[in-house]
């Protein structure tokens, strides 16, 4: 057995983020090929109920790191608890989800333990010599590169949600569960979380959404996004926006998809009244199926999408929504 491949199992309010299972499935193959143990590492408070979530996706071992001071995410608290465990157990690979939390924590941990870190990656595999190579987009997806880790004793990566395909869970798999109590004191945590404001309660975040309905300049006004919200409601999608729609003040900045907004990878991306600038494409080009509805047949998006409707979105979308509603009810 090697030193172990770790997957940081991100949870929020007692729910494990989906990217955790995606990473466990991908890492299981690496662990098998390298003869290493696969460990899920979950941090928090009152999380004991999650301990059995990871074995079905391939974990051999589960570290449940619990402490009152981990109830809420702080970089200081999480980094200390995780780095102390890394120093003790010496894993060879650590994967994080490329979420807001995962990207923050992975950079802190890599700097502290001297790991090599690749961020926002889309694939992990072994090369012919059994070395880990990780694929990641650069220049907002205009270029892809393979990353190798020539001088790193620990390999770390954050993996983009929704890209790796989770395997079917195997309920018969069991894992050894180890509870860890980290040495943490209040003085370790230098920042104070004063308030958490939920702007989209119950909505799936754009970066994790499997379906996204996005609107651009062609939406013409903030109130017209109601039409997209209705469509999104029917198919369980999250609403996004282009930079033009955000700059016009129709949507909050947190909804922006693109090079200076969020990078998303849903199964289905429906772009309504979006011309498809290179910067917008950079944010959604890895979506599995892209649909564009735009009355301008010359819009660049039609050369970069899978299905296009050249017509007035104000006439297409309501009928499209009604039709989908019928289908979903079948």
């Amino acid at each position: 057995m090697g030193k172990g491949i770790w997957v940081f199992a991100e949870q929020a309010e007692g729910k494990v983020r989906k990217v955790t299972f995606e990473m466990l499935s991908a890492a299981r193959k690496i662990a098998d090929a390298k003869g290493e143990q696969l460990c899920a590492v979950c941090l928090g408070k009152d999380i004991a109920g999650l301990a059995d979530s990871f074995a079905p996706y391939g974990a051999d071992m589960v570290y449940m790191v619990t402490h009152d001071l981990l109830a809420q995410y702080t970089t200081d608290g999480y980094a200390k608890a995780l780095c102390d465990l890394i120093t003790k157990e010496q894993p060879s690979v650590i994967l994080f989800g490329a979420t807001v939390l995962g990207r923050d924590l992975s950079a802190k941990v890599a700097a502290r333990v001297g790991a090599g870190l690749a961020s926002d990656c889309v694939d992990i595999k072994l090369d012919g010599s059994g070395n880990i190579t990780i694929r990641r987009p650069m220049y907002a997806g205009k270029v892809y590169a393979d990353v190798i880790f020539p001088n790193a004793s620990i390999i770390a990566a954050s993996m983009r949600p929704n890209v790796l395909v989770p395997g079917a869970p195997d309920a018969s798999r069991k894992a050894e569960v180890v509870t860890v109590t980290p040495e943490l004191s209040a003085t370790d945590i230098r920042v104070k979380v004063k308030e958490v404001v939920k702007t989209a309660a119950g909505k799936v975040d754009l970066t994790e959404a499997e379906r996204i309905v996005s609107g651009g300049r062609g939406m013409k006004a903030a109130e017209n996004f109601k039409m997209l919200e209705e469509l999104a409601e029917v198919i369980g999608a999250t609403v996004g926006a282009s930079r033009a729609a955000v700059d016009a003040g129709w949507r909050p900045q947190s909804d922006q998809v693109g090079q200076t907004g969020k990078v998303v990878s849903p199964n289905l991306y429906i772009a309504c009244g979006i011309s498809g600038s290179i910067q917008h494409y950079a944010g959604m080009g890895t979506s599995k199926v892209i649909v564009a509805i735009n009355k301008d047949s010359e819009a660049p998006i039609f050369s970069k999408c899978d299905y296009g409707v050249v017509d007035d979105l104000f006439k297409v979308v309501p009928v499209f929504t009604a039709e989908l509603k019928k289908m979903m009810a079948e």
Binding site: K142, F149, T199, N267, F302, K315
Partner: protein, 263 residues
């Protein structure tokens, strides 16, 4: 308020990036370079803090080749007071964490209340430098910040930052590192007098040896990009045909269910 802003020069967001035929690297010849857009938010915020306090300094720190002088001068023209340019072939081939280490050695010699970094550079897209810099300076940090308020006693600041599904308000002691996100402010343009003044502002070139660093660049990098390639091109869209928008809408729904199988 004394602020430090870390600055990177990157290809314009409009730039078409090409790859060498052997895939060993990207080709940046003829590409237009700009200040990393996220770093501009940092410059703007630092200038506003200085203006509000009525005193202090804004210092730029940039690591990169000679061409970066243009980006640094633009930052000085926006209103920054002086700059340090970590410009040495020894830094070449460094990854994000090696860069953070070099920046940290420079910043350790400086006096400051707050450090701004862009949340990520739009070329490498790693988003590691700000966080790693904070670690190497043993400072607290906050990422993806859209609002900064300095406490009256200048001993702490309260920031709003984006999290999944909302926003978090956190308080950090100063000095600290802030990574900036769109929404923080609207960066100003350099004025003509600003551009004239920028030419005379101090810009100090720093070598690896000045920082006492023996391992930099490729030697310090723990990651290396290889096999650069362009993403597979999507073929042109299958256009849904129909007599009316309503007919197209119905056909689109059908094709997404039966052909694409995504509904």
């Amino acid at each position: 308020m004394n602020s430090i802003v870390c600055l990177k020069q990157v290809p314009d967001t409009e730039a078409q990036i090409r790859v060498k035929p052997d895939g060993s690297d990207v080709v940046l010849d003829g590409v237009k370079f700009i200040i990393n857009p996220y770093d501009e938010f940092g410059i703007e915020e630092a200038l506003r803090l200085k203006e509000k306090a009525g005193s202090g300094k804004v210092t730029l720190v940039c690591l990169g080749p000679a061409r970066c002088v243009e980006a640094i001068r633009t930052g000085l023209a926006m209103g920054a007071d002086d700059a340090f340019h970590l410009d040495d072939p020894a830094f070449e081939g460094g990854d994000a964490i090696a860069t953070a280490k070099a920046l940290a050695e420079q910043i350790k010699k400086m006096q400051y209340d707050i450090i701004f970094c862009g949340k990520q550079a739009i070329d490498d897209d790693q988003g590691q430098v700000g966080v790693a810099l904070a670690e190497f300076l043993n400072l607290p940090h906050a990422c993806l910040v859209t609002k900064v308020e300095i406490a009256p006693d200048k001993k702490s600041c309260t920031v709003n930052r984006q999290i999944v599904g909302g926003e978090e308000v956190i308080e950090l002691p100063l000095p600290c590192v802030i990574t900036t996100q769109k929404g923080l402010n609207e960066p100003r343009y350099a004025s003509l007098p600003g551009i004239m003044k920028a030419k005379k502002k101090p810009l100090v070139s720093v070598k690896a040896a000045d920082l006492g660093l023996t391992e930099t660049g490729t030697a310090a990098a723990k990651t290396k990009g290889v096999n650069f390639s362009l993403p597979p091109a999507r073929t042109a869209a299958k256009l849904i045909q129909g007599e009316s928008p309503e007919e197209k809408a119905v056909k689109l729904a059908k094709v997404l269910r039966e052909e694409a199988k995504v509904i």
